[in-house]
Subunit: 155 residues, 2 copies
Amino acid sequence: MRMSKGVEWALHTLLNLDMVDGGPVGSAQLAEAHGLSASYLNKQLQQLARAALVVSVPGPRGGFRLARPLESITLLDVVEAIEGDARLFHCTEIRCCGRIGELSPPPTGTCAVNAAMRRAEEAWHQALAAQNLAEIRAELDATPVVRRIVRSALR
Amino acid sequence: MRMSKGVEWALHTLLNLDMVDGGPVGSAQLAEAHGLSASYLNKQLQQLARAALVVSVPGPRGGFRLARPLESITLLDVVEAIEGDARLFHCTEIRCCGRIGELSPPPTGTCAVNAAMRRAEEAWHQALAAQNLAEIRAELDATPVVRRIVRSALR
DNA sequence: GGCTTACTACTCGGATACTGCTTGTCCGAGTTCAGGGGG
DNA sequence: CCCCCTGAACTCGGACAAGCAGTATCCGAGTAGTAAGCC
């Protein structure tokens, strides 16, 4: 039960894409900025493009740029974009199998275990959706100095 | 990012162990109750034993029994017992790598991305810790009928 | 008859294979830009 | 001098391998119960 490291890569890359304003940045430069594998980061960026968090520009001088401001991108958006489905617990309905399943009448309603786990995940989802990337940008002091460093690293 | 199905197995098995009161139940019978792999369930039960949620009794007529009442076992206890560590996001500090890492001064404090993800996980942990197995037992109507079915299935 | 002792059967416990997902890599499709040729 | 066309280089996009955690299985260590032998 470990979250894909693509989520971490995507979050930092989105923050970097916000520092440079305007033109698209290639996945190779974005990868070099943090010493990542360019091809694999490209894969993650494609996922973000499908989720409409970034737009991809093909051809030379192409790359990726933010599709919308960081204020409107939540942590949940990124997690769901990369992981596909932000569900942790998958009920396999074992209550219906085996001896107990045979002896018991067909169950009604959802599994109590599943419901409990789902409630906990709901709290997680809400906490993820409550934080947007602009707040994180504010937390990691995005001073003009930092902004200029990022911009020069992505040149 | 999928939780091990061992968590589901463990939760149902703990609830079953509460239905039969007293003597230990072998992993083979517990597995048959839900049509699971006995050896693999045994592995999960060993994890629960290490976490002091159940006690194992060796030898013939041995097996596992609850170490303490369901009221004092939370969902978080089970998740941590099976998964080992209930952390989803693992920060690899990529902010210190690559060009940005070289150009920037050594970072101070924890990574903002990490902190944000940690906050969300904290909400999840609290929601897990807030629910104990006795509440789940109450939810899945543990009528005397059900209780008798489980007990006969574990004979 | 009662006690001791050896044996057997049954259970947990950990070491050992197998599978699917995460991670990483490669090559092709498409597009922009530049340079040369023609009008 | 301006426009068009062709070529090349660069980018995304998806298809193709390698590594690792989750999944499943098997066999050995240990113990309780039992039965036989002895006092």
